[in-house]
């Protein structure tokens, strides 16, 4: 409230502007958190397997960087495979379902309800069906990605306002034209929201599905194994790698979004 009282804030290139830059505070927090973590570990010296210091995690990461990146890549490929299959099927189903109001009214409640089902707990069934190898993880990820994509896409495809459709009809547009020129562009923001959520879901799904079993050169198995033999720094290093792949995946989708929806770029800022 006090800030709005000032009639004419002098916003020159002063010291204040430096602190207001978007990256300054996060960077400060990052450094402070790491430093105090390191310091606390140095002072209280908890057992390494309980809380390793950042420097120890860094050593572990540097020592087996290529191996971990390789495990990460294997897990990422599971996530990507499931993402492509799940989101792809979700998109296709949505396009079919959105054509009929009756069909979408019938199916959407079930798709939404699936949100409340812990799908990842079904990993053992996927293992029974598709084997202990990567395909069971791909299957779980695909199921996890399918529903949010389908629900969002149906919502997006039906989001065009009656007026916008009336406008198209006033041009005597064909159904196909209404679909490509109106419904698809207005669905894109919904679709990309779902895809962005699915990048996180797919990495999480792949890693957690690996907790149920699999080969050792995958991140989830590696983390679970190293944690159980108390090699915690290794497990933390693996998590850093998992975060790297997760963020890279996310930003790849963001780039795709900006490329396909240039008109939405400005609104992204908020």
């Amino acid at each position: 409230m006090a800030a709005s009282d000032a009639p004419l804030p002098e916003n020159g290139p002063t010291r204040q502007a430096f602190w207001n830059r978007p990256w300054v505070a996060p960077l400060l927090v990052f450094v402070l958190v790491l430093a105090s973590w390191e310091l606390l570990v140095m002072i209280f010296q908890p057992p390494t397997f309980l809380l390793p210091s950042p420097s120890l995690i860094w050593q572990s990461l540097a020592g087996q960087f290529l191996a971990l990146m390789g495990y990460g890549f294997n897990t990422f490929m599971e996530a990507l495979g499931g993402f492509v299959i799940g989101c792809g099927l979700g998109l296709l189903t949505a396009m079919l379902v959105a054509r009929s109001k009756w069909l979408s009214d019938l199916l959407l409640p079930f798709a939404i309800a699936s949100n409340s089902v812990p799908i990842v707990a079904m990993a053992p069934i996927a293992i029974v069906w598709f084997g202990i190898g990567p395909w069971s993880k791909v299957a779980i990820v695909a199921v996890m990605c399918f529903f949010p994509t389908m629900v969002s896409t149906v919502r997006g495809l039906t989001s065009a306002s009656p007026d916008a459709i009336a406008l198209m009809n006033s041009y005597a547009a064909s159904n196909w034209q209404i679909f490509t020129k109106l419904r698809v562009p207005s669905a894109l923001p919904f679709v990309f929201n779902a895809l962005k959520i699915c990048t996180a879901v797919s990495m999480i799904g792949a890693i957690v599905a690996e907790f149920f079993g699999g080969a050792v050169n995958y991140l989830g198995i590696y983390i679970k194994t190293q944690a159980s033999i108390l090699k915690t720094p290794d497990a933390w290093a693996a998590i850093v790698v998992a975060c790297f792949y997760g963020l890279a995946f996310y930003f790849a989708i963001v780039l795709l979004e900006r490329w396909l929806m240039p008109w939405h770029r400005h609104r992204e800022q908020h």
Binding site: V29, P124, I239
Partner: protein, 282 residues
């Protein structure tokens, strides 16, 4: 708040008539019937072995199979309740702390600037992979076994609550704030009378996500070796003995799915009770 809740009862125009309930029930019965037909039909048609797809009767039989400690369904419910307890503790801790942090972020812009990017990034990153370490770590400290599961559940609850509640606290429009200013309201009054109620629908959006997520968190926490109770343990047992008792794995997963849906349903029900002022949808 109390009087508006009671008085709003008469205004509820979305009430379900018994007739509608009947139709819904019929719809579900038909749906389940169809699933059963497809299930058994494809099993017969493609000769799918029992360990991949058991007969529905085998799943039912697995529920009622007696064990030394009682019938299986009773054991599964006990384990589900244990998991629900772990999840509930985590859900409570996560949502309360998430709410407080969101309020803090709302008040102090600099704190928010520093931490918010990480809160958002946490949603795109599989940090849940720390679960095994939390289990091993707290176990070694001699903490009760449910605590690690609750911590994981709390973690999964915390972030969506922070993000959504902050969005809710900031969702008030400019004129609504100016109105408060025209009354010379204090910051605390603005928070209590304007921001807090405005954030409630957003809070529930987060809590619905968190309800299921906290169950998932508790189950994930039960996966590592050494856990003895909870539906997650039963799922692992079920997958190990699947060839001997093919219905049991499915039984455990059905219970887990129901647990998630019940948790979600309870939050959704609370939302309908508390958020009475919204225009009914569609």
């Amino acid at each position: 708040m109390a009087e508006s809740v009671t008085s709003a009862g008469e205004l509820d125009t979305t009430g379900h008539s018994p007739r509608r309930w009947l139709w819904l029930l019929l719809g579900y019965l038909v749906a389940f019937g169809l699933i059963a037909v497809v299930w058994e039909g494809s099993k017969a048609l493609f000769a799918i072995p029992d360990y991949k797809l058991p007969h529905l009767a085998q799943i039912a039989e697995a529920f009622f199979r007696p064990t030394p400690k009682g019938p299986t369904w009773l054991i599964l419910i006990q384990d589900a309740l244990y998991t629900a307890f772990e999840a509930f503790v985590g859900f409570t801790i996560g949502s309360v702390s998430g709410f407080l942090i969101a309020a803090l972020f709302q008040r102090y812009v600099h704190v928010r600037r520093g931490f918010m990017p990480y809160v958002i990034a946490s949603q795109t990153v599989p940090i849940i992979a720390v679960a095994p370490m939390i289990v091993v770590g707290t176990g070694s400290l001699g903490a009760p076994p449910w605590l690690s599961k609750s911590i994981i559940a709390a973690y999964l609850t915390f972030f969506p609550v922070v993000i959504n509640v902050l969005r809710g606290l900031e969702s008030v429009d400019r004129d609504a704030l100016l109105l408060m200013r025209s009354y010379a309201a204090t910051d605390n009054q603005i928070f209590r009378l304007l921001r807090l109620p405005a954030s409630v629908p957003y809070l529930f959006t987060a809590l619905k996500i968190a309800a299921t997520a906290s169950i998932i968190g508790a189950i994930i926490g039960e996966l590592p070796v050494g856990s003895t109770r909870g539906i997650g343990v039963q799922i692992v047992v079920g997958s190990q003995y699947n060839t001997f008792n093919p219905g049991f794995l499915w039984a455990t997963i059905i219970v887990a799915a129901l647990l998630g849906m019940i948790a979600y349903g309870m939050v959704a029900l609370a939302e309908r009770r508390i958020v009475r002022w919204k225009r009914p949808e569609s």
